[in-house]
């Protein structure tokens, strides 16, 4: 056996491993593609936060592209992404529905008064059942749902300006132009 080749083998393995780690710096292991992508958004019927007598179902937004943002007043990273939704709502690019996940309605209302309310309406998911159907495991999460009610994108964690500009908005425009 070639001894010299054997001697440099550990070095080669080390360099290869370092290469993978380096590449890993630009990868996000938490970003697991949701099995819901390309599937119809699960249906639900839940009361609306600011009009408890009325309930909302995703059916109502058929024919429109819309965002579903899962948030809660106890969720610190939700504060981080909230200004992005405020400016998005001001620009009237796309309707945003809030899903208030496992929260206290009073706390939720106060939170929206303090930080601004970008939502077309907010749906109450007090027991987290809707969240369960949507595979929510890290609040905040944001879904892009197309005209025919199919989930096209899921973002886990606070939305960033970069993600919004580079991925979410182009997708929304493309979906809005399409049939």
């Amino acid at each position: 056996m070639n001894r010299k080749l054997l001697l440099i083998l550990p070095l080669v393995a080390f360099v290869a491993l370092t290469g993978f780690f380096l590449r890993g710096l630009w990868l996000n292991p938490r970003e697991v593609p949701s099995p819901l992508i390309g599937k119809a958004a699960p249906g639900f019927e839940r009361p609306v936060l600011h009009a408890l007598e009325r309930s909302f179902t995703p059916q109502e937004l058929r024919g429109q592209v819309w965002l579903l943002n899962v948030w809660a007043s106890w969720c610190a990273p939700c504060r981080e992404e909230h200004p992005l939704f405020n400016s998005l709502a001001k620009a009237k690019v796309v309707p945003i529905v809030g899903l208030n996940y496992k929260d206290n309605p009073d706390a939720a209302r106060k939170w929206l008064v303090a930080l601004g309310d970008p939502f077309l309406l907010t749906v109450i998911d007090a027991d987290g059942r809707v969240g369960l159907d949507y595979g929510v495991y890290g609040v905040p999460e944001t879904f892009v749902i197309d005209k025919s009610g199919v989930i096209r994108l899921k973002h886990i964690g606070p939305l960033t300006q970069e993600k919004l500009d580079k991925t979410v908005l182009p997708l929304v425009r493309q979906l809005q132009q399409g049939g």
Binding site: R23, G24, L27, P29, E31, V32, P33, W74, A76, D127
Partner: protein, 608 residues
Amino acid sequence: MIPELGHLALILALLAAAVLGTLPLVGAGFGDRAPIVEWVRLARPAAQVQFLFVAVSWICLVLAFAGDDFSVVNVASNSNSQLPMVYKITAAWGSHEGSMLLWILMLALWTAAVSVFSRHLPAEMLARVLGVMGLVSIGFILFTLLTSNPFERLLPAAADGRDLNPLLQDPGMVIHPPMLYMGYVGFSVAFAFAVAALIGGRMDAAWSRWSRPWTTVAWCFLTIGIALGSWWAYYELGWGGWWFWDPVENASFMPWIVGTALIHSMVIGASLLLFAWRAPKVGLGATFTAASRESALLANNVLLVVAAASVLLGTLYPLFLDALGLGKISVGPPYFDAVFVPLMAPLAFLMGIGPLARWKSTSLPDVWTLLRWALGVSLAVGLLLPLAFGAWYGKAPWSPMSALGLWLAVWIACSTVIQMRQQLRHARGGLVERVLAQPRSWWGMLLAHLGVAAFIAGVTLVKTYETELDVKLDLGQSVTVSGYQYRFDGVREIKGPNYTAQRADISVSRGTTQLPTLHPEKRVYNVQSMPMTEAAIDTGPFGDRYVSLGEPVGGTAWTLRIYKKPFVTWIWGGCALMALGGVLAVLDRRYRTQAVRDARAALQSAKA
């Protein structure tokens, strides 16, 4: 002012590390070059000066946290004025930046310790060891200064801090990171010894004898650190699990496995190395005995290294696929369980035989004579005990995994007792004399192996016989889990120093016997308003009763999760025994006499 002093001290520590990492290494000479004595002598003072500066830097960081200096980004992001003092200090290593500085502190401490306790080593060897540690230190200090400065200012200062993550506000988290880091960083001493031996061209038994106590101490810290982390996850996360095979855990477990192999190798002065030399000669007619202590240790090491490699593969496989664009997967407990058990079972079996095997060669019939009753007893227990436990806990009457686990645990325990009897029988004098005559490292081995037996028993029993129940209970309602009655007596609101909690009263009884009331809590910490589950555990040698509070579900009803965890404490008890065994081994008298002998030999060779 204090943060700037800390920053400055860290820069000065970098300079000390730069001196340590260059001059002594060059001065010790390469190949046949004569050493430069003055440069070699620089190693020890440079190591100690480095520690001094790092310690000053660390104290400055702790002062910034203790004094609520919210003009420091790190303090403002990870502490709060309401935080109890002990957690303010803990918050110093609660962030990435702070834990990097803790890491550097540990590294500097180990380096300084080597400079103090290894004075008897040949000067060039010591200079190389310390020099290599200085190089490692340069890397970490540079990384911290350039990318993760814990002293960065925040202008204007924050009025108050964003608080320490509530998950970390726990006694377990106070000591877990320092223990774990002492373990991780401690292995850099073994690394430095190995590299120094390679540079000096002396990969011999003396090298392994010198680095053995350092490696064992680091291993003890790592054992305790991992066990504390596992225990913390068990009681703090509220899921009742003690090991999740997540990448952070695996990252601590891999060095532990390899470190275990390393301390076993060092028993005979680098057994793997000896084998690497001997193995090629076997084909040339040299004898190769299958049954000897060397081959048992070699098999031990091969199994451990393969186990570490399989954990590495499982941990990195998702990264490999993702980096190569082949899709995203996650590798979880099913893989690790499937790979780990078949590797650990032969290892556990070997643990009974290895210590009885003699050097060079052992006759298998001898071992069989000694161990046959251990085999008989352990097989009988493995076959019968699962029947009894199955009936007692109301589970399947017999399961192959519990039989295997119990067999191996009892096998290790019995054969360890036989090893002890065998050794003591051949000693002279009364029992006390015989016990005292044995080297402490030998007692350490026995204790550590008994720890493994306890660990295997704990893992097997809790995995096979635990009971879990998710239940909704209204005021006054009760439920029976594993023979114990749990009655829900309502929830009160209580105020902690920096949180409000919903605290439940769960009275527990068995038949007519009233047991201690359990108080699981659901806390909301004021600043981050993050809900936290605080499980209530009634712990005992034969099992834990574990209750965690779920959510309110209308009216006075709540959901609860109730566990019965048989023998779960044996898992951490086993780890404690292993670490204690390591401590005994380090205290072995032979290290000290050997140190004196080494010093004399070095002196003689210097004279010659």
